[in-house]
Every structure is written in structure tokens, then in C-alpha cells.
Amino acid sequence: MPTFDPKPLRVSCNQCGTTAETWDYQHPDLAVECSCCPVAHDHAGLGCRPVTITATAHLTLFDIRELMDMATANGTLPERSEAAQEV
């Protein structure tokens, strides 16, 4: 059976190896806090650098968004707004 198993990014400081996991895909370097970071964190988008960001990808025939789009197009699923009205 297909599985939906999203993974966080793993972020490691290139200087000391300190590693953290984060779901913040836009600012992954903020995940690492270590004293050897050459740049001070400002928590507004500038984090530890340089870091290595390890990512994952799951390639499969169907993804949940496509299946929902197909079902909606076929009338199998109500439009989101109709579903909300029924609740």
C-alpha cells in the first residue's frame, strides 16, 4: 500500500557536526544552534552557515494531491466549498 511518510530535513553544521531536524524548509539553517557558527543567528532567516541540508524525495505513481484532484474532477469528491457547507 502507498504510504504517506513525510520526512523533516536533517541539518548538520559543517564545522562541528551538530545536527538537528526541522520542518522549516524555507529556513533550514535556523535549526542548528552551535557556538562555532561563523554567522550569528538572527532568527529572521539567517542561521548557521555553512550547513549541509539532507533532503528526501518519494517518487510514486500516485500522490494524494493528484488523487484528490482526479476524484474532484470526476465528481467523486464534492468541491471543497460544498464539503464545508455540509459540515
Binding site: 539553517d29 549541509t52 539532507t54 510514486t60 493528484e66
Partner: protein
């Protein structure tokens, strides 16, 4: 449909039911993109210092139970001076011109990779599944 390039899917189907042998690649490369690919439209490939156009050779484990994952690792260090926004992934074979085989998106994309940071894939970081 997600995953298979449409031309590659056609080659698979013709091999399955039309006795047309599938010409396999001897090596495959993983490409990074700044947009989402589809079955008929390639992603916009990443450019800039630290990334080589055409991708990086990646090896995969033998498929089992209709699934496999990469056995080799890969890493790209952003030296472009600006941030990378990584969205898509494509796997191309070296047969032909070469040919695009598979496509998808990175989990949580877009992933921002600041200048001097590296984007890496660990073993089993890219999983391919037909079930």
C-alpha cells in the same frame, strides 16, 4: 501521472504488451530543479556554481516488491552567491540523448539552500515505488 515521464511510460507499456524491447540506461543521473516537473514538461534545471548541469550519477539498489531507493549519496554546495530554491527532482538515463525517466518533487519543497550551504541526499533518501 506522477513519477513516469510520458515517453518512458510508453516505452514500458510497449515492452510489456508489444514485444518492443526496452533499451535500458547503464547509468542514471539525478537532477535538481527550481520548478515542478510533470509527465510531459521538464522542470527548470538548477543553475549556478556548485551544480553541474545534467545532474549527478546516482546508483540504486535492486528493486524488490516494486520499490527501490538510492544506494549512493550526493551533495551539492551552493556557491552561486544567492539562495537556491529546490523544488523538483528528475532521474535521467544515459541512453539516447539522454532520456528522462522519472520525476517528482522533494519533500516539503521548495527547500531553501543559502549560499555556502550544501544540499545532500543520503542513502535511501530517494525512494521509488510502484505500489
Amino acid at each position: 501521472m506522477a513519477m513516469f515521464d510520458q515517453s518512458d511510460a510508453t516505452r514500458v507499456l510497449n515492452a510489456e504488451v508489444h514485444a518492443t524491447n526496452y533499451t535500458a540506461a547503464t547509468t542514471v543521473k539525478t537532477l535538481l530543479g527550481t520548478s515542478a516537473p510533470s509527465a510531459t514538461v521538464n522542470m527548470t534545471e538548477l543553475t549556478g556554481t556548485g551544480y553541474t548541469t545534467g545532474g549527478t550519477v546516482m546508483t540504486f539498489n535492486a528493486a524488490s516488491a516494486a520499490a527501490t531507493s538510492n544506494s549512493s549519496t550526493a551533495s551539492w554546495t551552493n556557491g552561486s552567491g544567492g539562495s537556491w530554491s529546490i523544488v523538483g527532482i528528475e532521474i535521467w538515463g544515459n541512453e539516447g540523448t539522454p532520456l528522462r525517466h522519472l520525476f517528482g518533487s522533494w519533500t516539503g519543497q521548495p527547500i531553501s539552500v543559502a549560499n555556502t550551504n550544501s544540499f545532500a541526499v543520503a542513502a535511501a533518501g530517494v525512494t521509488l515505488s510502484l505500489v
